[in-house]
């Protein structure tokens, strides 16, 4: 039996960052992971492979469509899907090996197997070969993440009806793909297959796409995706699926009531959300409580059981890898007696489509609901020189600032490279910057980042370039 300061269950962005931080702080730490590789959903079947396909498919789309011809590059591209998948797998392998290296560097033990809490300070690990060992830990950190939420009546078979994991490894380009759920995952993967040649229809229960996103931003985003050929059926409920060997028939009803219709496609992606992965962890053995959805209740990462902590997708807050990473650092620092803290208002979100969407802080709807008086500065990428040169003029940058103090309250960018631009505003907002602080900061020309600065100028009515 091995005695640890910290045993972490789960080797995803929450777990592996917690292990690294614990190692840095001199804690004896083990990380239990049941996959064959570290990195969790994010590296293996999430963020990373999806970005690999998004990048590859975007280039393919540019070559296939008008863009290359417009640029004066004449090619006849041919899709080699198995190579595209192979390079994706290759990148993922390199990344997961990188985590293994970081574990060694920081003296964190990787225990292979499924972890289960069997009592206070005890984690039982069952290996793939059935062998069982028990670890003793002063602190247990649950970092088990989340899994796709199933849709009743539409059973995932990973053949014709797939979840996000299946959609990353389809054996062929679908002729028709139906995406159930207009959230970030559905739109990213829908974009991938649309670019590779599929006709994509997105069915969404709500009457808008990407819930949680600033509404004006979401509308602009939807317009861009529609222009690219994605069809949206909003306010529509999927009530049943009938799978044959080569196709799926989905029954779809308007949420507001009305006639049901049948949509047929050769593949269906169910991406209606994710739920915490907290079953079978032996939480009851130590009295850790969860809410109805399985979310572990915590107070500053402390669960209801002494010595048991939880982070990432398994607890409340946005289900994002970088949020889990922040949780991990703060949780381990608290365990080590330091002052760990996460400001959830400043966790940014990014949709890696084209155009990208990125935001941090409050949406206009949230500010209105909270009764905060705010000012808006907005700048379209059509007026940004770099975007214009690159023929990527969809979208805008929008800055919301307090009407009195001018403090930046929210930033919403839909446009090229928005994800790379949002970090500036995370820093600014951490320092409680005013929009004027951005407006009076030199930005390089020509870059897309200038759009943010012009939007900041717009808050006080002196946008100069539109």
């Amino acid at each position: 039996m091995s005695q640890y300061d910290v045993v972490i269950i789960g080797g995803g962005p929450g777990g592996y960052n917690a292990a690294i931080r614990a190692g840095q702080l001199g804690l004896k730490v083990a990380c239990v992971e049941k996959r064959d590789t570290l990195g969790g959903t994010c590296l293996n079947v999430g963020c990373m492979p999806s970005k690999a396909l998004l990048h590859a498919s975007e280039l393919y789309d540019a070559a296939m469509g008008k863009e290359f011809a417009t640029l004066g590059i004449e090619v006849k591209p041919k899709l080699n899907l198995s190579q595209m998948m192979a390079q994706k797998a290759d990148s993922v392998t390199q990344l997961t090996k990188g985590i293994e290296f970081l574990f060694k560097k920081n003296k964190a033990d990787w225990i292979k197997g499924a972890g289960k809490i069997t009592g206070p300070g005890k984690v039982e690990v069952t290996g793939a070969d059935g062998s069982v060992q028990t670890l003793e830990a002063k602190n247990i950190v649950i970092a088990t993440g989340s899994e796709p939420t199933p849709l009743p009546g539409v059973e995932i078979d990973q053949q014709r009806i797939v979840d996000s994991t299946g959609a990353l490894s389809l054996p062929e380009v679908p002729k028709k793909l139906i995406v159930v759920g207009a959230g970030i995952i559905g739109l990213e993967l829908g974009s991938v297959w649309r670019r590779l040649g599929a006709e994509v229809t997105v069915v969404e229960f709500l009457d808008r796409i990407t819930p949680g996103m600033d509404t004006e931003t979401a509308k602009t985003f939807q317009r861009s995706l529609t222009k690219q050929g994605i069809v949206f059926k909003l306010g529509a409920k999927v009530t049943g699926a009938e799978t044959s060997k080569s196709s799926v028939k989905l029954t779809v009803e308007p949420v507001a009531g009305g006639e049901a219709e049948t949509l047929e496609a050769d593949y269906v992606l169910v991406a209606i959300g994710r739920r915490p992965y907290t079953e079978g962890l032996g939480l009851e053995s130590v009295g850790v409580t969860t809410d109805k959805r399985g979310v572990i209740e915590t107070d500053h990462f402390k669960t209801s059981a002494p010595g048991v902590w939880a982070i990432g997708d398994a607890i409340h807050g946005p289900m994002l890898a970088h949020k889990a990473e922040e949780d991990a650092v703060a949780c381990i620092e608290l365990i080590a007696g330091k002052a760990g803290h996460v400001d959830y208002n400043l966790v940014p979100s990014v949709v890696y489509t084209a155009p990208e969407v990125a935001w941090v802080g409050k949406t206009e709807e949230q500010l209105k609901e909270a009764g905060v008086a705010y000012k808006v500065g907005k700048f379209p990428f059509t007026a940004n020189s770099r975007a214009k040169i690159n023929h990527e003029t969809d979208g805008f940058a929008k800055i919301l600032a307090d009407a009195k103090t001018d403090e930046i309250l929210g930033v919403h960018i839909v446009g090229p490279q928005a994800g790379e631009m949002i970090g500036e505003y995370c820093v600014a907002m951490t320092f409680k910057a005013a929009s004027e602080d951005i407006a009076r900061t030199s930005h390089p020309h020509p870059t897309r980042s200038e759009a943010g600065r012009q939007a900041a100028m717009g808050v006080e009515g002196w946008t100069m370039q539109s």
Binding site: T405, D406, E407, T430, F431, K432, D437, R440
Partner: protein, 405 residues
């Protein structure tokens, strides 16, 4: 709870004025972080935190006069949590500030200074003459945000007009302005008057032909600068000439102390330097042991320190003789006032071409009037005149310095 004490202020300095607190009550501070700046007669002093902790109370507000050992404030050691601010600086802000000093100076670039305010806050401060040092910051690590600056402006607008200066001896008219003297200006005023009151001061004049020194300088200035990395100026010649003269007339290098006269066998020459705040006189120590280059370097270093406000008390104390050069401002002739308790001060002046009679011929020569003010209690007229002639001779024929004549 630890007291923050006024430190020893240096020889012959008995009191200081609290110039500025860089921390507010309730602020967390680190050991050796600057808490408060004091102004003394001679220099500014910074008082640092004796330990990590929280500044719990400010007892001596800005503008208060303190003596060594006076408790400036109190701090609790350890805990980083900010204690509630109990007392604001008690007497701060009694008088309206002189406009010139209210200039915004966006966050002074000292390493221990408060965290820089947001650019927007600096802009607001600059446009509204708002002193950000007095605005409490709500941003990260206490930085002043735009919102803080706006709030400060608003509270200033709504605050009652500051009370009139206490016991104003007369009504001020519209086109007048009452400005409190800085500590340095008060000290200059007091000491100049003391010198006039105590010494039997009078001035003797001579004039010196600068041709030789100017020729020497023209010929060697490039080589000199290359070799020594410092410009060859006239001041070093005068320093050396004065030391030669002081050695010949030791009375001028002496001072009166009660019933005694103290003759000094060291030659620490004060060189008056004009700064923004006023005149200061840093001392070139043991200048008799220095080469011309050494003197020039020392003057350069002191001048820079003076302009940067970096002079320490030690740099200003203990001079035995002073040289003042009014010539840089164009003065043709003046009677310098002694730098008490010294007994002599040399006044240099503007170099001006004048017709001179040399060997029966009228020729044009670059001339400078020299003035020696001296304390007649120590120095006889003969000694004073001899001193000045000696300086004149050395400058007109610098080889004499080489030969020790």
């Amino acid at each position: 709870m630890a007291d923050i004490m006024t430190p020893a202020l240096g020889e012959s300095v008995t009191e200081a004025t609290v110039a500025r607190w860089t921390k507010k009550a309730g602020d967390a501070v680190r050991k050796d972080e600057i808490l408060v700046e004091l102004e003394t007669d001679k220099v500014s002093l910074e008082v640092a935190a004796p330990a990590d902790g929280v500044l719990s109370e400010i007892l001596a507000g800005e503008g208060d006069t303190v003596e060594p050992g006076t408790v400036l404030g109190k701090m609790s050691e350890g805990g980083a949590a900010a204690a509630p601010a109990k007392t604001e600086a008690p007497k701060a802000e009694a008088k309206p500030e002189p406009k010139a000093e209210a200039a915004p100076a966006p966050a002074p670039a000292k390493s221990e200074a408060p965290k820089p305010a947001a650019p927007s806050a600096q802009r607001i401060a600059a446009e509204n003459s708002l002193d950000l040092a007095k605005v409490s910051g709500s941003g990260k690590d206490g930085r002043v945000t735009k919102g803080d600056a706006i709030a400060a402006l608003e509270s200033r607008a709504s605050a009652p007009a500051p009370a009139a200066a206490p016991s104003a001896p007369r009504e001020l008219h519209e086109r007048e302005e009452r400005v409190r003297m800085t500590r340095l200006r008060q000290t200059i005023a007091r000491r100049l008057k003391e010198a006039q009151n105590n010494a039997a001061m009078l001035t003797t004049f001579n004039e010196v032909d600068m041709s030789a020194v100017m020729a020497l300088r023209t010929e060697y200035k490039d080589v000199f600068e290359k070799r020594h990395g410092v410009r060859l100026g006239f001041m070093s010649f005068f320093v050396k000439a004065c030391i030669a003269a002081l050695k010949q007339v030791p009375d001028v290098n002496a001072e009166i102390d009660g019933q005694d006269i103290i003759y000094k066998n060291h030659y620490d020459i004060g060189v008056a330097v004009g700064t923004e705040k006023g005149l200061v006189v840093p001392v070139i120590r043991d200048a008799d042991d220095m080469s011309l280059a050494g003197v020039e370097k020392a003057i350069g270093a002191m001048g820079k320190k003076a302009r940067d406000g970096q002079l320490a008390l030690d740099d200003l104390q203990g001079g035995t003789f002073t040289i003042s050069n009014g010539g840089v401002y164009g003065s043709l002739m003046s009677t310098p006032i002694l730098n008490a308790p010294q007994s002599g001060i040399l006044g240099m002046h503007k170099i001006q071409e004048r017709p001179m009679v040399v060997k029966g011929q009228v020729v044009i020569r670059p001339m400078m009037y020299l003035a020696l003010s001296y304390d007649h209690r120590v120095v006889d007229g003969q000694g004073a005149v001899t001193f000045l002639v000696k300086v004149k001779d050395a400058i007109e024929d610098p080889q004499r310095l080489l030969l020790d004549l």
